[in-house]
Amino acid sequence: MPIEDDQRREEEELQDEAAVSGEETPEIAVAPARASGNGDPYVAEDGAVMGRDFVIPGVDPAEHDPYKFHTGRKRDHGGTDAIEIVDLVKQFGRARILNGLNLGLPEDQVSMVLGPSGTGKSVLIKHIVGLLYPDSGDVLVHGESIPNMTDDELFEVRKKFGLLFQDGALFGSMNIYDNVAFPLRQHTDKGEEEIGEIVNRRLKEVGLSEATYKMPNELSGGMRKRAGFARALVLEPAIVMFDEPDSGLDPVRTALLCELIREVHAENGGCYLVISHDLGTARRIADFIAVLWSGKIVESGPKEEVFDSSNPFVSQFLHADVSGPLSMD
């Protein structure tokens, strides 16, 4: 029951956020009646009909084939998947944000999920860490199903994760040192001296040695992100996720943060997932890229191959072309 409470609250919050940011459910045009069947883009696996039972933001239900560019092609990345997303469906009210998303994120690589604003990238991250529960489908982390875990199992498996939120999500009542030390104090038996060594090393790595005892509200946006990064790394998690690490940063600081992510990944390894819509960030740090649109992955694969893709949507998005299937609508 507690999980249901939190899930409902999360959903209400996301709907509120969508309303505030103007990402409202588009005008509903009822699609022409079509026969149900496999592969029909208008009829979901659960029998729901687009236009009548749900809408997908950015997709006109009257469009003949909204998934014509979604080959779902997954190019070989030459490794194993740390995270597998299987037929993930998530709907808030009538707005279906994820509509049968399938994705595998490789171990020991920096993956990046790219996509236009409002396509559900953050919703995807929240499913991976168990902050949201899917309407259907599954999320597997190292083979374990996140939605089917009990609260206690979930809190345990979350020790594998480090997540950098958009604004760092530092605790406002603690200074930077205590923020970074918090996971160590909660989850380890280390003494204060050892904790101090680890925290100072992490803060030095992210260039915040001078800001150790400052409060979060005394830091710039970039510094808060770096402090959040230090906190996300402090337990040496196997999986680290970054929700738009470049948002609100100038190009130089974005480049420096990307460099830092690459350096830390080279040192620690693990599965890193970066959510963004910034192409510069993708070119700098990604090994593996997935392009998300209309609730499904259009294509995914190693960076060079995806950047060279002939798929009109992928090509337009990754080269920022004005002409192509993606428009202001």
């Binding site: 029951m1 507690p2 409470d5 609250r9 209400e12 919050e13 509120d16 505030v20 929240k126 860490v129 902050l131 609260d151 809190f155 345990e156 979350r158 020790k159 994760f161 997540l163 939120f165 958009q166 604004d167 999500a169 530092l170 605790f171 406002g172 009542s173 918090f182 996971p183 909660q186 989850h187």
Partner: protein, 265 residues
């Protein structure tokens, strides 16, 4: 007709949600799971005592003076100034102190909790806790409830002493219609140890409700800063209503059938 029913239905919905949330938090405290964060509970108890004790004691001192003054003049008008202690005893212990305590907690502690947790919610701090494997309801709400149960009995009992002192000063030292011994004889005749326990129970039930309501509205806040403001206002309204309901039920249950007034032999 349906539109008229929506408002009370909404209130009942909220009441049910708060009761369920409160039950969950109390379950965490009773099961001892909150003890994993006992340090945080002690920190919160310290914040409550340092941040609220003097304000509450100051308020009840003023109200104790008022109870004394009102009682002294009322009973002088009835030709029984020696019985001013009766008014003070009942006014202080049974009614005014629990209400003053409830009002001040609702205004300072309850709204403070909503604002703090609400701000944490909208800045993703609660999600961050969850992702770090720290159960947020236990860490943020159960610790605050335990802190309230540690700090408030102490603050309440000291508050009783402060109020008694204020009433004594008003009746005996300021107005002076009755001697110190005469005042204290009547004052202590009209109360006994169970009254103290009942008053404490009233105050602690109010405090528990206020902390739970604050935690609920803060934890579930959404819609940015405006949403946090709205949640704070809602919690204040809800708490004030609940303070009066608890106060009324407490008086009915503890003194409704037997006022324990030694009058007429």
């Amino acid at each position: 007709m349906n539109a008229w029913l929506e408002v009370p239905r909404g209130w009942l919905d909220s009441l049910g949600e708060i009761a369920r949330f409160g039950g969950r938090v109390m379950g965490i405290v009773y099961s001892g799971r909150v003890l994993r964060f006992f340090g945080e509970s002690l920190r919160q108890a310290g914040i409550l005592i340092l941040g609220s004790a003097l304000i509450i004691w100051g308020l009840v001192f003023v109200l104790g003076l008022q109870c004394g003054i009102e009682g002294a003049y009322l009973l002088r008008a009835q030709g029984a100034p020696a019985y001013a202690g009766l008014f003070s005893a009942w006014c202080d212990l049974r009614e005014i102190l629990p209400y003053a305590f409830g009002y001040m907690l609702a205004a300072k502690v309850g709204t403070g909790i909503v604002a703090e947790l609400g701000a944490m919610r909208i800045s993703d701090e609660i999600d961050a806790l969850e992702v770090m494997g720290v159960p947020p309801v236990t860490f943020l709400c159960a610790t605050r409830l335990l802190a309230a149960w540690i700090a408030f009995p102490f603050m309440y009992l000291v508050g009783i002493g402060v109020m008694y002192l204020a009433s004594y000063i008003a009746v005996v030292e300021q107005i002076g219609d009755v001697s110190s011994g005469g005042y204290l004889l009547i004052f202590w005749q009209f109360q006994n140890p169970p009254d103290l326990i009942f008053s404490l129970i009233k105050g602690m039930v109010m405090a528990t409700v206020i902390v739970m309501v604050g935690c609920y509205y803060g934890y579930t806040a959404s819609g940015g800063p405006v949403g946090v403001g709205t949640a704070t206002a809602k919690s204040m309204v809800f708490n004030i209503v609940m303070v009066h309901i608890v106060g009324m039920l407490g008086t009915l249950i503890f003194w409704g059938a037997n006022p324990r007034a030694p009058i007429g032999g």
